[in-house]
Amino acid sequence: MKADKHNSKGFWDWFNPAGRDAGGWAFILNRLSALGLAFYLYLHLFVLGKLAQGPDAFDQFVAAAKSPLYTVGELLVIAAALYHGLNGVRLVLNSFNIGVPRQKQMFYTALLLTVIGTIIFAARMFTAS
């Protein structure tokens, strides 16, 4: 008897790392960083909304934002933005059939630059605080 069900987990297969090659990992990280940045955008709008509640509400948030937990969160935003942007450049070049045979090396480069950039930002942010 023939089953008609599409043998996949649909959307969830985007994030399934089993058996993935470098390009697949680049895809997964691109999706995760995009979701993270989208979530951050809403969080940012929520925080800006504090301004409408008056100076006390905003000052209260600014005081809370000085905790190391917020700094780590900001660092994650920076890492996600760096990776998403750099991988975006890779994808644009690839889409014009530039460097496709080197797409893995381009991914590793994007990853390396993300790590370096994040470390530089981390050093500055934690030193400043």
Binding site: A3, H6, S8, W14, A18, R20, D21, G24
Partner: protein, 243 residues
């Protein structure tokens, strides 16, 4: 000889899937498909799987071995496990499961038909040169009045579709093999394929995971071909705008 465990996903009809395990004695130089055939021959005659040529021409024996898409007739056991190890074998993803390791490749075949993918190519149209299709460097003298033909590199095994994360969430996506087939034929010679390539389910649906190229058991490199097709489509669009 090695003693290994095959862990095979079973599913008949609409029943829930489960794994059956089989202890098999194999020569590590044998192929994954050989072990599956031994299980069928000596352990469980109800196990269903597809195979035919045993030398990577028919594309029938595509499965997932330890989570990775493989043509099991050319995947050596020693390359995917060790003595005393376990081999997990699943059917391909993104196709309906007919029974056990057999999937219905009909959706792929219909898409290949839609893009008029020829089963054989004239030798002058060898596929690895892209838009500027040229014959290979050493072309044998064709028979009088005719031209040699060759099988295209694509085996239509469906492995690329199984590995594609986009095909997982969009069954209507043309997919790597059909898009590669358009690129192989070339938009210059086949402008009727432009609409399909430039459609929502065409080159723009690809999200550049390049998993298709990573698992392709032949030398199609669908990821590269999709990017080349995207470049061709973009160039044509620009030409239309500029005039």
């Amino acid at each position: 000889m090695w003693k290994i465990t095959y862990r095979i996903r079973r599913q008949k009809g609409d029943e829930a899937s489960h794994y059956d395990t089989f202890q098999v004695e194999v020569d590590p130089e044998e192929y994954v498909l050989d072990g599956i055939e031994k299980i069928w021959a000596f352990e469980d005659r109800s196990l269903t799987f597809r195979h035919a040529c045993h030398h990577s021409t028919c594309g029938a024996c595509g499965m997932r071995v330890n989570g990775v898409e493989k043509l099991t007739c050319i995947t050596k056991i020693k390359d995917v496990t060790q003595d005393g190890g376990t081999l997990t074998v699943d059917p391909l993803r993104n196709f309906p499961v007919v029974s056990d390791l057999v999937v219905d490749l009909g959706p792929l075949y219909r898409k290949m038909e839609a893009v008029h993918a020829p089963p054989v190519h004239p030798l002058s149209m060898t596929p690895w040169e892209g838009e500027d299709i040229r014959p290979p460097k050493e072309v044998p003298t064709p028979p009088e009045g005719g031209e040699y033909i060759r099988l295209p590199d694509c085996l239509e095994c469906g492995i690329c579709i199984s590995a594609c994360p986009v095909a997982a969430s969009d069954p209507d996506y043309l997919g790597p093999a059909p898009l590669a087939a358009i690129q192989i034929q070339g938009l210059e010679g086949h402008p009727e394929l432009l609409a399909l390539a430039d459609s929502q389910q065409g080159v723009w649906r690809c999200h550049s995971a390049f998993e298709c190229s990573a698992v392709c058991p032949s030398s199609v490199d669908p990821g590269w071909r999709i990017m080349d097709l995207r470049r061709q489509v973009t160039a044509r669009r620009l030409k239309t705008i500029i005039g």
